[in-house]
Amino acid sequence: MTYIGKSIKRVEDKRFITGQGSYTDDIVIPNMTHAVIVRSPYAHARILSIDTSAALAMPGVVAIFTGADISATGIVGVPTGWVINFKNGDPMKEPPHPLLVTDKALCVGDGIVIVIAEDQATAIDAAEAVNIEYDVLPAVALPADAVKAGAPLVHDNAPNNVCFDWELGNPKAEVDAALAGAHHITKLDIINQRMIPNAMEPRSAIGHYNEAHEKYTLYTTSQNPHLTRLLMAAFVLGIPEHKVQVIAPDVGGGFGSKIFHYTEEALVTWCSKKIGRPVKWTSGRTEAFLTDAHGRDHATTAEMGFDKEGNIVGLRVNTIANLGAYLSTFAPAVPTWLHGTLLQGLYTTPKIHIDLKGVFTHTVAIDAYRGAGRPEATYLLERLMDTAALEMGMDPAELRYKNFIPPFDGVTQPGYQTQVALQYDSGNYKAVLDRGLEMVGYQQFRAEQAEARKHGKLLGIGFSTYVEACGIAPSAVVGALGARAGLFESAQVRVQPTGKVSVYTGSHSHGQGHETTFSQIVADRLGIAMEDVEIIHGDSDSVAFGMGTYGSRSLAVGGSAIVKSLDKVLEKGAKIAAHKLEAAVEDLEYAEGKWTVKGTDKSISFGDISLTAYVPHDYPQNLEPGLDFSSFYDPTNFTYPFGCHIAVVEVDAETGKVKLNRFIAVDDVGNVINPMIVDGQIHGGLAQGIGQALLEGAIYDEDGQLVNASYMDYAMPRADDLPSFEIDRTVTPCPHNPLGVKGAGEAGCIGSTPAVVNAVMDALSGFGIKNLEMPLTSERVWRAMHA
């Protein structure tokens, strides 16, 4: 039986559809206490006094700690994992992010006091009895405002609120010259609005210090348990790493927001030792809005120059990227190396330059949100392309065909060297647009659109062709770019004596279905049944090490690590088989779960070899017993999925309401292990990308209040906001990893947003509107139509 390439139903589903999943908040430890964190209601305020006496006196309250209690033990706070130096070489501004703030709150939601009680309700009551006096200070929330003269400073040591400035690409003078000589320049001012990831499971953490073992256990909603352990043990709490076990059990979605090491994780761990009892903290939803790292929030001016024929001659981008009040784990990398590097898109643009500032504001930290930098790059490129087509009177599909990088497979043809550092691995960009146009019935649509306009019906079509970077990432490369971590992955394949196989992966599944996809790979390579394979992840005491799941890296990096270990298992197995079959290793072949002496019917099964490895009575000399291998896989390049997304919308001429009639997505994610799971990843990504275009966006007022910090106010897509999607794929294998896979987790979210906005702009093309800010709510569209 072969499994790879088949839509095998997920092995993890049964526990979830029967209510037997085990999420962090479901876990109960004897003698466990419950924590509530008292948070600042102000975006910027000096803390004048904290009075916990009334709260402490309440029955059922176990302990209360403030930032002073924590800093007294020498703990500074949580660090960031990436450094971006200023253009002049100065190090970026790296202010501390304390577990609880002591003198000043720098955003709404900043933690000030932790209240621990026998039960959650008591902890909530006691938190309300904590009395904090504030001196409220002026605040700044938007990135463009942060750098204005006289803007309130978030950190005293960061003048103009600038954390770093950064540039990438060709020398700016060359790009300026290219644009100066352009026949046409399309210029857009773009706000890529702040998004709130909103995994359905709110974050939760349980700290449990076991005094007898002198060991800490942290259960947490993490995409990244090993990195959390490393950061928390070595860089926050200063406790021995081998005495910390971090378990990320079933995790209810992440979308980037659970990559990072959060203050609450260190806080419950620290408190648990302090009080000698387990401490659980579970975020409420509004608390999640106010404490989960947000995404995007760029203010950009982008100019693209064209020659007379419509060939792109240059791209100049200037961006101010919001980082929030503190630097989250990967925050500095997102607007820089995950954004500026993607500005080549899938076009032959000869000259590109980006200038970018990362700035502090009195808002929640911003970090990776599904796509992380690549959606922002794709959005500005694809808005420029459709706008340019409109301005130059060209067809948007034709403009793309004219500028596409020609196909290259990365094997017989070299990869494509961009102007912005990356070398694309393989791509066939024309093919995805061909297929998209075919699926949408482009010529027919244009005819329908023209006919509809005669009757006042506003139909629009929008395109987005994108390339992105996944499979994050070669350690030496990211190290040179400022990462404080390697980005390899580990995998252990432990063959049991009975031939059953346990696989320990450093990837973490929080919805991606690794237990199924990885089992398919293992079962196929070993020629055994999927039922004989178990995938174990998310526990730092079981899995040797891991860099976790984000950047669509699990299969390309984690899967490749598994393949390496499987190869080692088969290599050793062959030696044992050769001994048993009295043949030379090179005379053996392995297929369908057995080694056979070529050209004979002499064979021995995987199960027999497994048993022999653990009962090595008749065994090769100088060969160790056992069949258990670990590997680390460090990729040699990023992977580069690409695709074409097409949106068809109708704008209600009376109300401005946008109805998404059709959404077509043709994605190339390289080889596919489980088509059903890949399709599901695309669907979910599309919904989030479409959500950004039409519905979602964090709104901060001028005082730094997040005014839509609940599901009553923040408009996430619901089932009847979306159509069923029409999706297909092309397959251009990745040339540099053993599975030929590129990654599918973020593609849907990266390509879809500009397609929808372009479609709305196309529908509104008779209204003389050049650009509209997302989300395209009916109010915003109606006002533009009536301006």
Binding site: E12, F16, G19, G253, G513, H683, A687, S710, A719, D720
Partner: protein, 162 residues
């Protein structure tokens, strides 16, 4: 000051002392350890806590435990068994209607409510019936297909939804 309530949950009778302010979802999760019912928000918006109360879908974060006194409740733990899945559970598995699984119990209960009322819902009717339930993973595409699968299975086998 606690109050005694008596409820039937998944065909089992419980008589328990509860705090008058305790929400039903916390009664289920914390007092009875029925943790399949989840809490995803604090504004009755996400539907992760959806259960059937006397046969109707309700958000158990917006019902006090004392209000459930004398009623019959079905939670995700009671709608099917591992070896005998409910057609809706089966539909979610067959059509890949879940990813992280957090919204899934609430989705399944909301679907049960719909299919009791409408055995042959259109795609639009399904999408409207899920108005009170957020999913962030699937884009709803396969959830719709899962419920269509379940509707067909229920029609074909003529079993009662609950």
């Amino acid at each position: 000051m606690s109050v005694s309530i008596s409820v039937t949950i998944n065909n089992k009778q419980y008589t328990t002392q509860v705090e008058p302010r305790q929400l039903l979802v916390y009664y289920l999760r914390e007092s009875l350890h029925l943790t399949g019912t989840h809490v995803g928000c604090d504004t009755t918006s996400c539907g992760a806590c959806t259960i059937l109360l006397d046969g109707k879908a309700v958000k158990s974060c917006t019902v006090l435990a004392v209000q459930a006194d004398g009623s019959e409740i079905t939670t995700i733990e009671g709608i099917g068994q591992h070896d005998h899945l409910h057609p809706i559970q089966e539909g979610f598995k067959e059509e890949h209607g879940l990813q992280c699984g957090f919204c899934t119990p609430g989705m399944i209960m909301a679907a049960a409510d719909l299919l009791q009322r409408n055995t042959d819902p259109s795609e639009q009717e399904i999408r409207e019936a899920l108005e009170g339930n957020f999913c962030r993973c699937t884009g709803y595409h396969n959830i719709v297909k899962s419920i269509q699968y379940a509707a067909k299975k229920i029609q074909d086998t003529k079993v009662a939804v609950i």
